[in-house]
């Protein structure tokens, strides 16, 4: 049975304006779903039911008065690395277990102004470091497509919440694939826009040159709608681009005939599951049927992107996470002097993966090793960008799988960091190059699990990227629901 909370935001926005339902009813449907399934899914770290009820009432008043923006009254979940004034923001870490931000991140501030309704903060890998959501200090998230499977990460809670109908849409963050990969593993749409298009103000930093706020939605149209609400220049973020807030719905339904689509040849090799390969090839066929001119593209340095990323991201992280020193916020473990206090606080507050990356980054930046590791990785970053620039001379959009595999069992890769890092092999290049990329469900594999196809475009090509993704989504007609919901309506 389909409830209000299972519909798309675009559909609900129309229904709200037609008087077919109220924001209060949509919210109650969402809350009922959270009550019914979240004990099994574990998508939420904090719920904000009462706050959401007030926001839904306010949205209903604005809708009745006829001055409500499209995002008004749609239940939203925010990844717990996005600061929310007065609502705990833990980053999935013990060190911030009690942290209550005194300000809102810009994306939520904009949505709030538009009549947004926040249902809660979602679980994630600690400080967004991970690809399975198993690195959360507060327990894993279970994939609605199979409760013993990971939902992907690090925005696993946001992806699972949208897949399970607990929220109609959600925000996540993507540093190396953390929006697109969980979208792929959980059967939803994940958009990572161009670096700097959405403000990072209030996003608790992991790797500042790569961190990007992204959207998790049930349709490409919803991704366009959400981006329209939160994108554009913010003076509070020095890396924010000089782009106006714009309407990404305009032009979304245009033709894609003649669009040049490049299939990334390096992304179909060893390590890619046959079910993933077949599903993505099918999506490529559909693009050709829609009139796209399909050819083979090459990113010759793609093989080096993973290595560069696992030097650059931990280096930036080791610097960013220096702020957790037990002085201004977070937990403190006492010591005889300041250094002992800091050292103990950090030892007790951080989990295994965060410690691993801090150590990796500290080593890569330390005297004598800086040039050999961090310096060389930054050069590879240049080579990756050049690869893309060359490819985008011949193509408008590039296609690859989002992830080499579908959802894997909880516990399967947790003891092998290198195997875990390979999950991000196809998503990392778009972070290193700052380019926009989107994952949409391409179908289900033989085991009944969703597969994601990734489309990548050049810097600020969101309108084209979304138009192609929207046309492909229509042609694929993916409408399978996760087994968790397939039965008697959860």
């Amino acid at each position: 049975m389909t409830e209000l909370c299972d519909r798309t935001a675009s559909d609900l926005a129309s229904a709200l304006r037609a008087g077919e339902c109220s924001a209060a009813e949509i919210l109650e449907s969402s809350i009922e779903r959270i009550d019914a399934v979240d004990g099994r899914v574990g998508a939420f770290l904090a719920r904000t039911d009462e706050l959401a009820r007030e926001q839904a009432r306010a949205a209903d008043e604005r809708i009745a008065a006829g001055d409500a923006p499209p995002a008004a009254g749609i239940p939203l979940a925010l990844k717990d690395v996005l600061s929310t004034r007065g609502v705990t923001t833990t980053c999935g870490s013990k060190i911030l277990e009690t942290y209550v931000p005194p300000f809102d991140c810009t994306p939520w501030e904009r949505l709030k102004r538009d009549g947004g309704v926040l249902v809660g903060k979602t679980n994630c890998d600690e400080f967004a470091m991970g690809s399975s959501n198993e690195n959360s200090a507060f327990g894993p998230v279970h994939n609605p497509w199979g409760l013993d499977l990971v939902p992907g990460g690090s925005s696993g809670g946001s992806a699972a919440a949208v897949a399970a109908g607990e929220a109609v849409w959600a925000l996540g963050t993507d540093t190396g694939g953390s929006v697109r990969q969980p979208a792929s593993l959980s059967g939803v749409v994940g958009l990572k826009p161009t670096y700097g298009l959405i403000s990072r103000y209030g996003l608790i930093a992991f790797a500042s040159s790569l961190d990007t706020v992204g959207t998790l939605t049930r349709s490409v149209r919803d991704a366009a709608l959400l981006l329209s609400a939160i994108g554009g220049k913010d003076p509070m973020d020095a890396t924010s681009l000089d782009e106006p807030r714009r309407d990404y719905i305009e032009g979304l339904d245009g033709e894609i005939s003649g669009i040049r689509v490049g299939v990334v040849k390096e992304a179909f090799g060893e390590g890619v599951e046959p079910g993933v390969r077949d599903s993505v090839r099918h999506a490529v066929d559909e693009l050709a049927n829609l009139g796209a001119r399909v050819g083979e593209a090459s990113l010759p340095h793609a093989d080096y992107a993973l290595s560069a990323y696992y030097l650059i991201a931990p280096s930036e992280a080791s610097s960013n996470l220096a702020r957790y020193d037990g002085v201004r916020y977070g937990v403190r473990v006492d010591g005889a002097d300041s250094v002992e206090m800091m050292t103990r606080t950090r030892g007790a507050g951080f989990g295994a993966e965060v410690k691993r990356r801090i150590m990796l980054g500290t080593y890569a930046l330390s005297a004598g090793y800086y040039e050999a590791y961090y310096g060389q990785a930054q050069k590879v970053r240049t080579l990756i960008i050049r690869d893309y620039e060359a490819a985008f001379e011949a193509f408008d959009v590039l296609v690859s799988p989002t992830s080499p595999t579908t959802a894997f069992p909880i516990g399967a890769k947790i003891d092998d960091p290198l195997a875990m890092y390979l999950n991000d092999v196809f998503t990392i290049p778009a972070n290193l190059s700052g380019m926009p990329a989107i994952s949409i469900p391409s179908g289900i594999d033989g085991a009944g699990l969703p597969v994601g196809v990734q489309l990548t475009g050049p810097v600020l090509a969101e309108p084209t990227l979304l138009r192609v993704a929207n046309a492909l989504e229509g042609a694929l007609g993916f409408d399978v629901r996760p087994p968790l919901l397939a039965g008697s309506g959860a």
């Binding site: 977070g330 005889a336 950090r346 951080f350 310096g375 930054q378 050069k379 970053r381 080579l383």
Partner: protein, 96 residues
């Protein structure tokens, strides 16, 4: 060959207390990860300039006007220990 790391030294730089088990595991895992990451040197030649930001921006300045900021109470609201409207920390230097 896995890279050999002075774990004690790096942990000291990172101000990170680690148990002996953690040190052993990290020594092994970081050695393997760094061996794989060192692959960047195969292609990062001298003639390639480094990239710090994919979309570079420089000298992003705002006009010199006073705008609202957090209150003292808000700034201190998350501090583990506060005294006289200031963050309180354990002693930093020995006083004889």
């Amino acid at each position: 060959m896995p890279v050999e790391i002075d774990i004690e030294h790096v942990a000291r730089l990172a101000r990170l207390e680690l148990t002996d088990d953690e040190k052993d595991r990290l020594r092994e895992q970081l050695g393997v990860i760094l061996e794989a990451a060192a692959k960047v040197s195969e292609v990062a030649t001298d003639d390639v300039p480094p990239t710090a930001y994919a979309i570079p921006r420089s000298n992003v300045l705002r006009s010199d006007e006073i705008t609202p900021s957090l209150t003292l109470e808000e700034v201190l609201s998350n501090a583990p220990e506060v005294e006289d409207d200031r963050f309180k920390v354990p002693k930093v230097v020995e006083v004889e």
